[in-house]
Amino acid sequence: MNRLAEHPVLGTYERGRRVTFTFDGEPMEGFEGEPIAAALRAAGVLTHRYTAKNKEPRGVFCAIGRCTDCVMVVNGKPNVRTCVEPLCEGMAIRTQHGLGNGAVAEKEERP
């Protein structure tokens, strides 16, 4: 578990209410308003996307919205910077493949 319960300088963290979301269809829990990337990291997810040509995994690099390494498909919308996008109840978050034509990727994955 990567969540800090208490911090020696900051004390306890103020977090939003507990919400559920899905990652590639699998239900997960996080806190409302925290960046999607924080919720995923706490749940042990490191790979956010695979590159278009070489299909290499990528995850968070800058965590402040500058590098776009962390983009994913959120509620069907591709290229969302998950390190700055706040988590909401019921979000459907998917690993992004390539340039992120989310709709196509989801269709392909369906049985």
Binding site: N2, R3, L4, H7, P8, V9, L10, Y13, R15, E34, P35, A38, R41, A42, L46, T47, H48, E56, P57, R58, G59, V60, F61, C62, A63, I64, G65, R66, C67, C83, V84, P86
Partner: protein, 369 residues
């Protein structure tokens, strides 16, 4: 098109300070920040600042951030969040994205206070998930309360490296090693000593050779470097780590100043390409000012003074500030900045500033010739 007295881009220490100073003289000030939270990098800085009381030493960054926000509110500054500035035309027309809308607002003066981004160094495996900026580690742990990993390697022993390493220990991570290609620790000795006291080994004169792992970082290999910074064969060491933090410097965010057509100069001492500025942050474009890291990498304390100087200059330019009072206020701020840069860490900045003023003089001479 809406018109404002002063538009400030970036609500970090530099931008907020500029806003507070200008609003005191009665300017109508708006600050745009792309983040959902204002304060810039201050809110992840949980260590105590150095220097004298005047420069808020012994205060922690996040508290200073809270104070600045309250002060800005009292001064009547409007802070607009979730507002990303994507364009600057004729120096003073600001194009800003809010949600799905794009707005254009004209200003009588603009302060660019957009901060900096972290540098990276490429090595085999550097794109693996688990290789992150030191600032990213700081953001995850201090702001969001999530540990970026369990076992860390810190690459870079400058201020950011040693400060963030200590903060990661505070967050309950294990720092397996600190490395730096240089043979000296660049960061504040006090912070480095705090890290060393916990038993974390420092490998100076070492570089990272590669990150290894299947789909994510599982280990990292380092090696000693010779005088020409080449790895020495046979000195390799491998550490089992899940996270590699890069603290290898910052680069000023210059997209907007370049777009506005500011005269730029390359000054390694300030982090690379920066807009040429007078001491009050005035660029070569009339009415356009730069403050904080966006004008050269320094630290939060000086970003606040540079912000105040730019805010004061913007007020004077528009005739808001009584000239005699403004003169002595400007003097006071300059002296404070000089005192801050007085120490050994300020030497790099002072030397770079001198080069900048030489470059400006040369340009002025060419124009009149």
């Amino acid at each position: 098109m809406k018109r404002r007295d002063l538009i400030i881009i970036g609500a970090g220490p530099a931008g907020l300070s500029a806003a507070i100073e200008a609003a005191q003289y009665g300017l109508d000030v708006v600050v745009y920040d792309e983040n959902a939270l204002p304060g810039g990098q201050l809110f992840k800085q949980i260590h105590k600042f150095f220097g004298s009381k005047e420069h808020r030493a012994r205060e922690r960054g996040f508290r200073i951030g809270q104070q600045l926000l309250e002060e800005a509110g009292r001064a009547g500054v409007e802070v607009v969040l979730g507002a990303q500035v994507i364009g600057l035309y004729d120096g003073l027309i600001v194009q800003v994205v809010r949600g799905d809308r794009i707005e254009r607002v004209r200003a009588n003066a603009v302060v660019i206070a957009t901060g900096a981004s972290e540098n990276m160094v490429p090595f085999p495996g550097w794109t693996l998930p688990g290789v992150i900026g030191a600032g990213a580690a700081q953001t995850m742990a201090n702001l969001h309360g999530v540990r970026p990993g369990n076992d860390l390697l810190m690459v870079g022993c400058g201020n950011v490296g040693v400060v963030v390493a200590y903060q990661m220990l505070q967050a309950g991570c294990r720092v397996q090693a600190m490395i730096d290609a240089s043979r000296a620790i660049g960061g504040y000795g006090v912070h480095a000593a705090k890290v060393a006291r916990t038993g974390v080994p420092f490998f100076l004169g070492h570089t990272i050779l590669q990150a290894e792992g299947d789909g994510k970082v599982e280990s990292a290999t380092i090696a000693q470097v010779d005088e020409r910074w080449q790895p020495v064969p046979g000195t390799e060491k491998t550490f089992a780590v899940d996270t590699i933090c890069l603290a290898v410097g910052l680069t000023p965010a210059t997209q907007l100043s370049r777009m506005a057509g500011c005269t730029m100069v390359n000054l390694p001492g300030l982090g690379g390409l920066v807009p040429a500025t007078a001491q009050n942050g005035a660029t070569s474009v009339p009415g356009l000012y730069v403050a904080g890291d966006a004008g050269g990498i320094e630290e939060a304390s000086s970003a606040m003074i540079r912000g105040r100087l730019a805010g004061l200059a913007a007020a004077r330019r528009q005739g808001f500030a009584d000239s005699q009072a403004a003169e002595s206020r400007g003097q006071e701020l300059h002296e404070s900045l000089d005192r801050l840069r007085g120490g050994p860490f300020g030497e790099r900045i002072r030397a770079a500033e001198e080069l900048m003023h030489k470059a400006l003089e040369k340009e002025a001479a060419c124009q009149t010739a």
